[in-house]
Symmetry: C3
Subunit: 319 residues, 3 copies
Amino acid sequence: MSAPSAPKTSPGNFFEDFRLGQQIRHATPRTVSVGDVALYQGLFGGRFAVQSSDIFAQNIGFPKAPIDDLLVFHIVFGKTVPDISLNAVANLGYADCRFLKPVYPGSTLNAVSEIIGLKENSNKKTGIVYVRSRGFDDAGDAVLDYVRWVMVRKRDETAPAPGEEVPELQKSVEPARLGGSCPKINGPAYDNVLAGSSHRFGDYKVGEKIDHVDGVTVEYRSAPQASTTGCCTRSNVITDGSSASTSTPVSTAISSPPVSTATCRSSRSWPSTTRSDRSTTSPRSRRRSAPLRPRRCSTATPCRLRAGSICASYGRTST
Amino acid sequence: MSAPSAPKTSPGNFFEDFRLGQQIRHATPRTVSVGDVALYQGLFGGRFAVQSSDIFAQNIGFPKAPIDDLLVFHIVFGKTVPDISLNAVANLGYADCRFLKPVYPGSTLNAVSEIIGLKENSNKKTGIVYVRSRGFDDAGDAVLDYVRWVMVRKRDETAPAPGEEVPELQKSVEPARLGGSCPKINGPAYDNVLAGSSHRFGDYKVGEKIDHVDGVTVEYRSAPQASTTGCCTRSNVITDGSSASTSTPVSTAISSPPVSTATCRSSRSWPSTTRSDRSTTSPRSRRRSAPLRPRRCSTATPCRLRAGSICASYGRTST
Amino acid sequence: MSAPSAPKTSPGNFFEDFRLGQQIRHATPRTVSVGDVALYQGLFGGRFAVQSSDIFAQNIGFPKAPIDDLLVFHIVFGKTVPDISLNAVANLGYADCRFLKPVYPGSTLNAVSEIIGLKENSNKKTGIVYVRSRGFDDAGDAVLDYVRWVMVRKRDETAPAPGEEVPELQKSVEPARLGGSCPKINGPAYDNVLAGSSHRFGDYKVGEKIDHVDGVTVEYRSAPQASTTGCCTRSNVITDGSSASTSTPVSTAISSPPVSTATCRSSRSWPSTTRSDRSTTSPRSRRRSAPLRPRRCSTATPCRLRAGSICASYGRTST
């Protein structure tokens, strides 16, 4: 115990630390509870009947209410960060994301990744890491599978590139490969009134624009030294794939697959236009007629998706 | 799929859309979990022994700790908003609110409303909607019943009023109609020390003023563009029934029914007078002797109750 | 019911109200749920594999994932506040803190304290209360035991001191008295990769300094009237034992006992250096090379520990 001890804090992997074909088991396994589900619903506002009500879920064929696919994604994704993107400069995109098995409260999730591509940037300071990550439940079954690519710094600019391989990625996920996380649904038992919407699969069409009125106000950082520079504008958020993205680049929109474009909507910056208080403080007409103000993003805003890289999830409406 | 698709976002009901006697089933059913209970306790600070401890609850006659009545109210109320008050200008009042059956974690709640009154305002721009809402558990039993009235905008000012009927509402709830959510309690087993209070039903009297010292600081909106105008003053919060109210007009006070007045206390705006930190940062005497500063409300402040419209809940102390 | 009723809000105990040897049963018992665990993990960021995964916990000898010792501490400590430190001026220290039995979701905790020391300060305005507090589960078994001392105001400066007795407290907890909350662990089954660290008991040494890179930004109070005076500086936070402390004086560090010093690290006040977003917004090198800015504490910062008074918990790595 008198020898110098090893550093106790992981510096994370740098670009030159990755190897093509490398397999990484991630820490920390997590038993997902109804407490996690409550926090997720409180934070993100999802109110899908299937995920909210055991009875509704049972009526259409689930044993009980499954955990929202995107919570599964967040948990699995989060586990990959300490190994993959602790030294990331920019999060670049996602592809081929599929939910493979429903997850219920009490399941324990863990994550494994494989490095499927590496490409050093011409400045020799960074490189792009392509990784396929998979989440597993405690039965050992895959529940989630997706590809992500991310720009990672090099520790040493003179280090040789660890390889050069850019994987071919699909532009969209084929419908036939989706739906694994959804059991065979009893369509007639799906109650449109309780679900809060009468729109089913056939009611959506490719290219349709949906105006999700009434955003959630993203709170500004209140520290005196907080800078308002660096906020993204509406245009570069959507189109500039090489700029640094924000922390959670996953849309909560449910789209009919395949989908090839994504839009990033500004939450209009009214003082109090959150969903829960709008009925009493903000007459709807006033908000609707007001011009859209320039967007100012906080770091908590999910605001970028590349075309062809959308996480598509369906199975919430039966066909 | 080439026909124009229907708008996917509900504009909500306007005053002229309601009909007397109309029945509305609300989305979204929700299985209430211990996660929801934890969030509620964390946010609202309720620390009733019966609702906090399965053992305490069992000792006095519950099968386990029931869910706080007001969480049941919030959940049921929340489900009515998309159908009733999406276009509301002002939330006006509540009456005849009764909790009818205890709700436990794992129960699935849904809500149904009936339009019991309609009255157009003289400006023809708005009208008052009177609605009786009820919450049901998955056994189909009513757990909550209350009347609410709310001012709702018209879509079209030239539209004829959908009816004119102002229901007669009770000024207070008769004690004999209360108590449904409470089983027959084993009074002697109620442990005053563990409950944190020796005050029982007979220790309260009509007209008694209770000073709930030490409020919770309501955080100000931090966005640069946030306005401080529109903040309510102490007087108009309490007395002006026609002004726009804030989002959650339900008192957490437990009163001996019937009760006919409600007071709205300001949380004194000290930098750090939340309950949890007061023991170390704010000597009690200093706070007590300081003059009450003018109130500045945030939109999250529950601050208005009409006389005669209180949600009364008892059963937490045995008689 | 016409007699004047008793005040309904407890003023708390003042220094002269305590008696040597006094036993206090605290309100409110609480059944700790997976919801509470989810909130705790979300707020404090603990990601220990044993506490996060039922499967991981079972593999090494627990029946399921236990509740984090420090959540047990927070719950038990919180129950003592209304009786012990409602009129406290300063929280002074902790000693002999031991976790005695694992606690699992569904357990109901309650707390009992004994006054073991009293010492009036020379100014006659305050005195120091030494208290031993213990938490019990619903089987009646002690799960936590610790001593705390706290400076409490007198109600009446002319009141005589209620006693004078300063207990002898151990400078550290003997290892042989620790470990009660941990079962006999199956060491070889402890998976370092899933745990996220290869460091075991033998890898730490007395006096070793660990740089916990990447703090969590403590949000500033955003109210216009919030003062930035009164913020502590790095030095007085650590060394001035007589100044008023902040609300949660418990370190989350796990140390090899016995430990006799504690350090209070500043979270560097970058706009976005929370752990979860660092991969995409803050290149690691930039943060590391930047000078440490003066610390500005919010009241939520846990920032003071006295030498010799650390709550030591081990059992998370097997030996």
